[in-house]
């Protein structure tokens, strides 16, 4: 017991091996990734949904091309994606290691995932509701702002929660590019150094973070959901 209490993993702050600093890095990578992912993924999901219903041939092609890119993005194993992206990461972030380089790779992985989920959320809106508002003379922008996003909001909140949790899992692999964080700590100090206490501690902390994110997401979804409970 006293050994644990004197273990620098638990007692230090600000070092490479500190549990607390790495937890903060994990949170930072997750939330920064999600900020970018929501900014890009929600409009991309809308684009997938809106272009699918079109009867104009070139719009249908946009749908096919975007759909293909999204599928390719989702097929890459994340560990391969990080490495394959390195040249691009160097251009955009300026370096290929560290948390910020990891955030770029995480965003590229999370955007197609979220976009597909958003597309599914939008499809769940009954077509009659969309047509009803079209018959009132709504423009496309009004339709998106006043019908699609608000009606799908409970589902969208759920999709963002799911993507956030998937991203927390992916941050563990960010250690490959020196991204640090809890997963990396569990690997370096726990698994590779045979320190079971550190490994269990990091996993427990990760579980706590995931449960917290899910609880928060579910609570927000409940507040914004005005549909009948069935």
């Amino acid at each position: 017991m006293s050994e644990w209490l004197s273990n620098p993993v638990f007692t230090t702050w600000g070092s490479n091996t500190s549990l607390w600093s790495n937890a903060l890095i994990t949170l930072y990578m997750t939330f920064a990734t999600m900020a970018f992912t929501v900014l890009v993924g929600v409009p991309l999901g809308l684009l997938l949904f809106e272009t699918e219903r079109s009867r104009t041939p070139w719009v249908r092609w946009v749908n096919r091309v975007v759909g293909f890119v999204v599928n390719v993005g989702r097929s890459f194993p994340f560990i391969i994606l990080i490495i394959a992206l390195m040249p691009v990461t160097r251009v955009i972030v300026g370096r290929v290691t560290g948390p910020n380089a990891a955030i770029f790779a995480l965003t590229v992985a999370a955007v197609p995932f979220l976009a597909r989920l958003i597309e599914i959320n939008l499809r769940e809106i009954p077509a009659g509701k969309i047509e009803a508002v079209q018959m009132m003379g709504a423009s496309r922008a009004q339709l998106i702002r006043q019908v699609l996003l608000p009606e799908a909001l409970p589902g969208i909140v759920g999709s963002i929660t799911t993507t956030t949790i998937a991203t927390i899992g992916y941050t563990a692999m960010a250690g490959v590019v020196g991204g640090k964080g809890l997963g990396d700590l569990a690997n370096r100090m726990g698994y590779q150094s045979y320190d079971n206490v550190v490994m269990v501690a990091t996993v427990v902390l990760l579980i706590a973070i995931v449960i917290g994110v899910q609880a928060l997401g579910s609570q927000i979804a409940r507040v914004v959901d005005h549909r009948a409970r069935s």
Binding site: P126, G128, K129, E131, A132, V133, Q134, M135, M136, G137, A138, S139, Q142, Q146, V147, P150, E151, L153, V224, H226, R227, A228, R229
Partner: protein, 341 residues
Amino acid sequence: MITLDGLTKVFPAPDGGDPVVALDGIDLHVEPGRIHGIVGRSGAGKSTLIRCLTGLEKPTRGRVEVGGTDIASLEGAALRAARRNIGMVFQHANLLDSRTAAQNIGHPLEIAGASRAQREQRVAELVELVGLQGRERNHPAQLSGGQIQRVGIARGLAAEPKVLLCDEPTSALDPSTTRQILRLIRDLRERLGITVVIITHEMSVVREICDDVTLLENGRITQSGSLLEVAADPHGPLSAELIPLPPVPTGIDATVINCDYGDSETLRTSEDLVRLAEQHAAEATIVAGTIETIGGRQVGRVQLALRPIGAEAASGIGREQLAQLLGELEDRGVVAREVVA
């Protein structure tokens, strides 16, 4: 108010088969301030007709004119502006769950760009008009079916349209709520002078509130006219639906005839029929029948049992007498025939 001129809509074949003709040369005119019912089985083209009226579907041929505007020729912003002249009410109301009753009612005004103050004032008027006071802040999930449809109707009226299009407005409601909603629609017509088109498969809706009715079958109009004309025409396909035939009675030892009246100038009630039948050496009794009063005029189908006068339990009247009676009924505009059990 609404004029359809040779409206035709053909959908391309789904997979290599023949194209589907949903509407085939529809000519229809709806006068301002009338309640016009459009009836037909599912697949008759009712939904396509509505979609053409609101410009969601472009006609293959023909003209669609609502309030003097040719809907079919419009695109983009002009079409969106024209749609604001048409209020829609749907079977399942199609309210947005994310909005309260008041926000749903005000939605067409929001789309039209009305200010918040204008919107709030108009919504308050509409809430009172449809009797929803105290429910403004409720979301649809907290309202009953009848209240939801009241919100739907108020929303349809929000932008002060000239035409209210109702697509099966009561088909999802129970009978007493249906009556309330129909009474509301009729009230609104009286108060606002709005033109109403009701698409329905329920004959009771037509009987209760329509001034005129059109029957759609396989994309064509097979009968159209005022409710009285249509109901009173015993040869037309709608009269049998509006005034159903009584079932053939069993266990009656008499000659039984069916009489459809309503078209006749001299035989205006079922009593008139009985009196005429009794002139032909018979005792006449009404054994079954459906009688409606439409536009102050009686229209009905009744079944008369005929026995020779004075005969206690004897069977029917003679063939000669029967032929005479049927002939006389026919001369006076009543469709009559013997029922053979």
